[in-house]
Amino acid sequence: MILPSLAAMILFIALPIVSVFVQSLFVEHEQVLVVGENCGPFGCTPTTSVDFEATEKLREEKPLGRYAGFSTYLGRNHLATSDVAAAWGSSEGIGDFISSLMNLRFYKALIFTLTFTAMVTPFVVLLGLGTAVLVNALPQIVKGPTIFVTLLPMIVTPLIGSLVLFWMIDARGILGATLAELAGDPDLSLKASLPLTWVMLIFYGIWHSFPFAFVILYAGLQTMPQDTLEASMIDGANRWQRLRYVVVPHLMPLVVFISLVQLMDNFRVFEPIVGFQAQANATSLSYIIYDDLRGGEIQLFGSAAATSMLTILGVAVLVTPVVVRTWRDFKQRRRI
């Protein structure tokens, strides 16, 4: 039983990661440049171009490119060690230091990604739990329709959902114009202000993901042993105490599961940034990978590979505490 799944894991998970890692250690060959002349409808201009044959020869000799070690990781567009050191030395306080970090592409994306994950994950769990408990208390006849409506945000494709909201929060859209009216500032723009863009994306993230937590916790509530609940009622526990001391502990394994999935999901936030065209104010690690590969005419494979590896590392660091906790619980239960 172990062998096939091990083989599948190596083939579909380990090998691609190794390949991306190897890619991230190499940079392109030196491009042999020649100076020549280009002519076209608007006249001739002296220009520089790549000597394809000479460059191709270099490539054939070493198809992977030039070995660069971790220089891509440490360079300006990723960890930027020297820039960070310089910023640390010259900044006058932690705020100043963070604002210099925000000027570096990787850290700008990382700070947003972490903020997004840290804000969205707990709210999704809390909101999901609240909705599940409320829906569970509804009379049977309205439960079905309520569950359906609650699931809607998750049914809408993230890109489409964010596009719809993008139009609504436009300075001339229904939400954007109303907010500008309420704030009494005709130039208020959700898309132009950095804090508002972040709030909007986080709000969207919660709105989109909470049905996931809701549906799982609602299912969990159905397995709630009635006698435990009744016993707690006889002991005089009120509604809140029942929730806090009976329902939540019963649902805890599910909460851990949802947190785990949400941490991973939110850490790779991408679609809302594209949908909201928010890249001026908010970029995520996934977004900068996309930008390296699809942003311009030249694809930056090495740079994208380095960001990918750092993203994997980030996910690993984030989910480790949760996984360790689950593992401990598992061992404890076996002992019992």
């Binding site: 280009n38 201009t45 820039d83 000027n103 208020l188 030249i298």
Partner: protein, 411 residues
Amino acid sequence: MTMLPKLTIAALAAAVALPAWAEGCSFENTSVRILSNDFPALHAVNGRAQDCVGDGNEFVLNQTSEHKNIQVPALQANPAEYTVAVVANGSIVPLINEGLIRPLDDLVEKHGASLKPTQLIKVNGKTMAIAFMANSQHLFYRKDILEAAGLEPPSTYEEVLAAAQAIKEEGLMDHPLTLNTAVGWHLGEEFVNMYNGFGEEFFKPGTAEPSINNETGVATLEMLKSLVQFSNPDFLTFDGNTTNALWSSGEAALAIQWGSRAAQMMEGQSIDVVKENTVVAGMPTVGGGATPASTLWWDGFTLAKNISDEEAEASFIAMVHGIQPKLLEVHADKAIWLLDGYTPGPGAIGVIENANRGTPAYPMLPFMGLLHGVLGNELGDFLQGRESAEQALADVEASYIQQAKEQGFLN
């Protein structure tokens, strides 16, 4: 019994192929596969190429705005996925860098009698592409609004600022000016245009070292920042479509927009008052410069290297047929054509004026795309007032140098 269907098919094929033969495309049993961008002028050219190919051959057409992302891997395959790649002076560069397109000199000599010498795009003496239309960003203005504010049409960016200020002060419009300033490629293009207007080079000659971190760079950024103050506050999300929509609904009096959009801006879905009062003009100059602060673009076709000579010849014939001056009979208003017998309409004046006044072509440098991309991503912070112009340029320079090193352009 078996003969009959075969005969019918052959007869049918002959009958269908006949119009193609009649149009002067005589090749059979070969394949023409076109990859191109997706807009009306190219639809017209590709449609005519398709008519020429006829039923005796394979014909594949992929018109998509994703063409830039597909072209390199598609042409790297051997045989190449497409025989023809329709490109512009930005998107041809990666094809040349990777050696994926073939010189066309022999084919031009054999089948290119209808082409004008200026249509031939020569790289180091070899014809690598055939251009058939031109594009450029320039000024659009509303003559009724300018008249109401007592203004002359602006011819410099300083006058554009003054005009926008006057329109705002008169209470005619809150956000009279609109440009394509969406973060990313569009914003990069605005910088490239404005910087060009000051007549400086982007790179130290003969090298990939950037030379934009200077006083001209600062002046360029300051001008862009002054301009966007008269733009809708959402300006960092505005691309050509948004500018078009704002203009058509009468919400702007001055716009910097692509010439290829003229028909849509002046006609299309515009409200009546916009239709009646939209005028195009060449791009304004900036900082006392003589040439318009813009870049000229061409669109043209290239042939893949990894295809048979027969396919290359058939593809060339089909594409040359696609851009015969006959195209102008129906499609003259769809673009600024570089073809014989094209008479520019009122929407074409802007691009023609840019060209006549010596606007430089967008540089076909192998590393220009990297700088353009970095500019587009880094300048948003500056335009929103979160950092100084000097800081923004230093960021652009550092980020570009890192990318250029990873790509092997710099050591």
